[in-house]
């Protein structure tokens, strides 16, 4: 098992302004800025980490939160190995939005995708509106794990990414994941294939049909 290379795709979903981009930037660049731009559509970033003797490359898609962009979701979560469903602990509406995403991901990806429900802005504990117990129970009920983070104070962020990486490796290795079996049957250095772009190409072909000439 030692010395393997993995490549996984993670998607961040959740209501606007809950801190998706901040979580990503905190993790990847260890930076925090109250005033970054709102994300339009989605942003892509990558990060390489080592877990034990394994190297893991994370391809992270940070998506736009506004409900209007909800329809774009599949472009980014398709083929994801892991998903962060982020809410703001001071904002109950943002937690409700998580439920929609969970339902949608379950329908689209089945159990292929590891779900993490993330209550961000734990630095604003005094303004908490989402009871932690309720959030944890909900997470459990949908087979997800719950995390508390503060991108601002850099609390729980590394742990979050590390934990999901470990779980993705476990899942990959446990061969429960059909796609993993397919990929593994190739060879052990099938780095590229772990980013599951298989679905994408199907869609591209559909697109082509609609093209002109």
């Amino acid at each position: 098992m030692s010395g393997k290379s993995y490549q996984f795709k993670i998607v961040l979903l959740g209501e606007g302004c809950v801190g998706k981009t901040s979580l990503m930037l905190r993790y990847v660049q260890d930076k925090f800025n109250d005033e970054h731009l709102s994300t339009i559509q989605a942003a892509f970033i990558k990060k390489k980490i080592r877990i034990g003797s394994n190297s893991v490359e994370l391809a992270i898609w940070d998506t736009a939160g506004q409900e209007k962009y909800h329809a774009l979701g599949p472009i980014y979560y398709r083929g994801s190995n892991g998903a962060f469903l982020v809410y703001d602990i001071t904002d109950i509406d943002s937690f409700e939005r998580i439920r929609k995403w969970v339902t949608e991901l379950k329908t689209s990806l089945g159990d292929d995708c590891i779900l993490c429900i993330v209550g961000n802005k734990s630095d604003l504990e005094k303004n908490r509106n989402v009871p932690i117990k309720e959030a944890e129970e909900y997470a459990k009920s949908v087979g997800a794990k719950h995390y508390s983070t503060s991108a601002k104070l850099n609390q729980g962020v590394n742990e979050l990414f590390l934990d999901i990486s470990k779980r993705m490796i476990e899942k990959f290795e446990s061969s429960e994941n059909l796609e993993s079996i397919n990929h593994q049957s190739g060879n052990s250095s099938n780095k590229r294939n772990t980013i599951q772009v298989v679905d994408d190409s199907v869609v591209q072909q559909e697109d082509k049909k609609s093209g002109c000439c």
Partner: protein
Amino acid sequence: MPFDGQQQVYGAQHPPNLKIIKELKSGSGSSNSHSLPGTVVKAFRDYEKKTIDAWDIDENECFNLTDPFQISITDSEEVAKKIIKNHKETQEKMQSSVSIGSKTTTKLSPGPGKALRQETDANSQISNLSKSFKITSLSSSDVKSTDSSYAKPSDPKSSIQNKKNDNQDSNASNRHQLYVFKDFDQDSTKIQKFENILNSSPINLSELEKLSWKGIPNNFRPICWKLLSDYLPLKKELQEKTIEQKRNSYWESVTECYSPSFLDLNHDTLRQILNDIPRMNPLIPIFQNETVQNIFQRVLYVWAVRHPGSGYVQGINDLLTPFFVVFLNDYIKIASYTEIEAKDIENLSQESLHQLEADCYWCMTKLLDRIQENYIFSQPGIQKKIIALEELMKRIDRALYEHLKKNNIEFIQFAFRWMNNLLMREIPLNCTIRLWDTYHAEPFGFSDFHLYVCAAFLCRYSKNLIEEKDFQGLMLLLQSLPTRNLKISDITLLTAEAYKLQVMFANSPSHMSGNNL
């Protein structure tokens, strides 16, 4: 700043994209080129009509302009070959003269900015200059060699290199001094032209469009945008009254939309806007100013309430910023759009702020009316344009298109933002403002023409992109293309390239029509 005399225009150096012509020929499959001349001729006629003043028949050995029906693909390919040949022969000479050519065109920036005219721009403009000012240092061979520089392969690096050389050359050259003066002269001619048009009543809209296409001097920009947006009436005598009515009507809407019953209904919209406003343009200090943020909040919220079909969509807030900084120029002197200080705003009278805000609202509304499809449910306008962009790229830069496809890049993954925010997130604000001069002046500038600008924009980075060998590298580059140092002159080139593409493809029957989408 725009119209900075030190900036180069790419027009004089940029080659015609021969690939386009070839693609056009081969890409149409069995129909081959026989179906094309008609289209091309029609497109060419449109083009020629718009750009007639850029042509100098004496200098045109290759195109017979008196009879546009003779223009065909074969001809243009022949021309291209000639140019290449010419280029090879005169490459030596060009070293010394190209800088002058490009220098000159910066100020003379192309006619209603357009496409092929860019190609002849340098030579015709230079010849005009040499005639009118009797500049003996420019011989006809200089002119030719400038022209021939178009045939150079489209290589961003080499053009950058050229520009560097140009700077060195021209700085050391007396001729440069001469041209700086001429540039200035030309610029004041441009200002004069704007003054003439704006002082007439009713204002000749098509003349104004033609002139604005190439970029509007900062001081005229507020009034020109208002006229081109169809906000300010062309008849002088109607202007004051209309504007007053419009401003009042906006403020009535504000009162209405902020009434408890409306607020209750639109709670989510306001919340979203309040979320986004502090996150706009964090690099430009005035957008952190409370007065400014309140203005934005009201404009966006009122717009959203009054346009329930689309409502507020993230990104629309970006589209308000150019209007705001441009119209500020009516009240305060602005040296640079990105360096306005908060105290400048605080010093404005309440009345000025009210006027400014209403003007921003109406002009943004006019803009959004033109691209409404982009923001209604499922954003079909954007989806269509992304598919069209993909088709276009297949034809104009096959290598890049295939490279992207091979690496599983989907156009929607990067181009969505280009369409949703009109490239504002990709290029500096002053470049956006210059781009909008053209968009305001071009029919369907913000909608159809933007597609061609996106295509030209993508082509511009083709070489950088081809160098990236995997999905991740490509995606990272695509979402932060090296645009930080883009200049106004780059936008002039971009619009000219886009116009060329529009002329070539917009009328192509098998292309871009709604049926295909």
